[in-house]
Amino acid sequence: MKPKIAIFDMTDCEGCELEFINLREKLTSIAGQTEIANWRMGSTNNDPGPFDVTFIEGTPITEKDIEVVKQARAASRLIVSLGTCADLGGVQSWIGETAWKKGVKLVYGENYKTTSKAPKPISYYIDVDIHLPGCPVNPNEIAEVLGAILAGRKPTEARFPVCLECKAKENECLLLAGKECLGPVTKGGCEAVCPSRGLRCWGCFGALRGGNTRAMKNLLTEKYGKERAEQLLAIFYYQQNEYKELYPKEK
């Protein structure tokens, strides 16, 4: 029997599930070898499960989001966190809960009431089996995960920093050139697409486990000041332990 796949999206930009469609010809081949049983954005006639593999994109914010995440977990053998929002919280989670609540008033006015929760990665609510970070996710990594599942093996995971892929492409070092680059302590797997086109690494794959984030913090603080260093590290690392160790106080 073909493995049943589901794709759910929470509150987010939907760029990562779009990377499925961006797989184009590969998507056709994946669709032939699996059964896409539930994909709100791509299809009607959606099935409530059970599923073999479920991709979850985005951060659960609304009550319904949180309920979907929990029901999806109950209905799935494997859960993949698709993209940085689901995996690490993403850009909308870089401000703490207090600032988030203030932001709701700022954007919608004093009288506005919400039942939403400040954004957290899905692992805050459920167990995750396979982590696929990236803002956006690298479509080649989606193909690798699906290929591995179809072949019944564990998907390979990048356990190296962005610098490794960046060096392999013979790019000039942006950090040495004075840019605020987080390549040395950020998890690779992106194929260094940003630094290859001149953009410093913003850290969108999250802090690399075992990376020397403290040294990075010191370097950034020395070069760009305390406030900027914190901003740079917060944008994608905010919900990670690596960040909480550096900045234990909630903003």
Binding site: T11, I21, N22, P48, V91, G103
Partner: protein, 410 residues
């Protein structure tokens, strides 16, 4: 399984919404079910150069539009005057963004309704030629944004003042050839969408767009884009995470059909041919379902725009990648015709160039009220249909608007 939340939503639109039809009162309501994202708060206190990168993350379907709108607001604030070659590259990038988004919407979200399939992938078997066109046009849009912008989703190269890196001339020459070789598919797409039978609706409305720095409409509106906050009102509704734009209490329309109906920028020859000869309708038709055909005609026009700009760029002898500018305390507004309509970004900066205020108005926020008014019209005029059929028809209407709820709850 009726209590499962895993199957309860409108499918094949960008973002989460639910459609409620009240057959007693004859009112349709599109409820938004997506969390608040607070991008206007997320950028506060950060240096100006963070805004394009962060606001791109509002939408994975039109990130390049957000980047370009953000840059245009910042360039207005700092009085940056970019060179013609930078404008050429931005126009190609913009064309890529619109082709990507229109191809996604037309083939992957809208088309299944008209070809009676559950999803576009089924067409791989049922109609391989249409499927090949879908994949090829999506790929073309992706390629344009990859070559100019560095990546298909969330571009990396565009910055205030120009670009961090630019493609080689050879890459652009090849791109122009590829654009040409896709023209017949774009024309076939117009033919395909012009050939469908759309529900017959005619409800006069106001079409808006930004052209040459001014907001214009078919009812005589003509004001500088900086005045957008006076041109229409953004209303907050209880229990909804999106805002609702109105003009004098009524809905209005932005997007492909509005742009084509206003005809402010004359179409390129092949697109004009597609409009006059292939579709053969006289605009405005005031039928919102025709937004599908309008998007298909725009793809033809955008291919011509991209080729034209590549040729001008390649012949330009005085090219620069990025122009210098001075940071100062200031404010600025910018707008771009995004795939779904006019997208506004506005910013206030302190003397160090840090952001003190940021405002974003997305196309979907501007379209939602008109969408509801159209849906009410359908409920009244098509009341002879069964509830199930009417529900399906209104879902198709929603898809024709190509709403982006993700953007609307920025």
């Amino acid at each position: 399984m009726s209590e499962s939340v895993l199957t309860h939503y409108i499918c094949k639109i960008e973002g989460h919404g639910d459609l409620k039809l009240n057959f007693k009162s004859g009112k349709a309501k599109l409820t938004i079910d997506e969390g608040e994202r607070l991008f206007e708060q997320l950028v506060l206190g950060r240096p100006y150069e963070d805004a394009p990168f962060i606001t791109a993350r509002i939408c994975g379907i039109c990130p390049t539009a957000h980047v370009l709108a953000s840059i245009s607001a910042l360039e207005a604030a700092f009085d940056v005057r970019v060179t013609p070659n930078i404008i050429n590259l931005r126009k190609i990038l913009h064309a890529g963004q619109l082709i990507q988004s229109h191809a996604l919407h037309l083939f992957f979200l809208a088309l299944p309704d008209y070809m009676s399939v559950a999803n576009a992938i089924e067409l791989h078997q049922k109609n391989p030629e249409v499927y090949r066109t879908a994949i090829a046009l999506k790929k073309l849009g992706d390629k344009l944004t990859e070559i100019i912008g560095g990546r298909a989703v969330h571009p990396v190269t565009p910055v205030v003042g120009g670009f961090l890196s630019v493609p080689t001339d050879d890459e652009l020459r090849l791109l122009a050839k590829e654009l040409e070789s896709h023209m017949h598919m774009a024309l076939a797409t117009v033919e395909l969408f012009a050939g469908f039978r759309y529900p017959n609706i005619k409800r006069e409305t106001e079409y808006l767009r930004v052209f040459d720095g001014r907001i214009i409409s078919n009812r005589g509106l003509d004001t500088p884009l900086e005045n957008y906050a006076y041109a229409f009102k953004e209303n907050v509704r209880e229990g909804s995470q999106t805002k609702y734009g109105t003009r004098d209490g009524h809905g209005f329309v932005v997007g492909s059909l509005a742009r084509l109906s206003l005809n402010s920028e004359s179409l390129h020859p092949k697109a004009q041919y597609a409009l006059d000869k292939i579709w053969g309708k006289k605009l405005p038709t005031y039928n919102s379902f025709h937004n599908n055909v309008a998007q298909a005609i725009e793809i033809v026009d955008l291919i011509e725009t991209a080729i034209e700009n590549i040729n001008i760029y390649l012949n330009d002898k005085n090219r620069v990648m990025r122009v210098p500018f001075t940071i100062k305390e200031s404010s600025g507004a910018g707008a771009i015709e995004a795939p779904r309509g006019t997208l506004y970004h506005a910013v206030k900066l302190d003397e160090k160039g840090n952001i003190t205020l940021y405002d974003i108005v997305t196309p979907t926020v501007q379209n939602l009220v008109n969408l509801e008014e159209d849906a009410d019209w359908l409920m009244k005029e098509h009341s002879g249909l069964t509830e199930e059929k009417l529900y399906k028809e209104i879902e198709m209407l929603i898809r024709a608007y190509d709403p982006c709820i993700t953007c609307s709850v920025h």
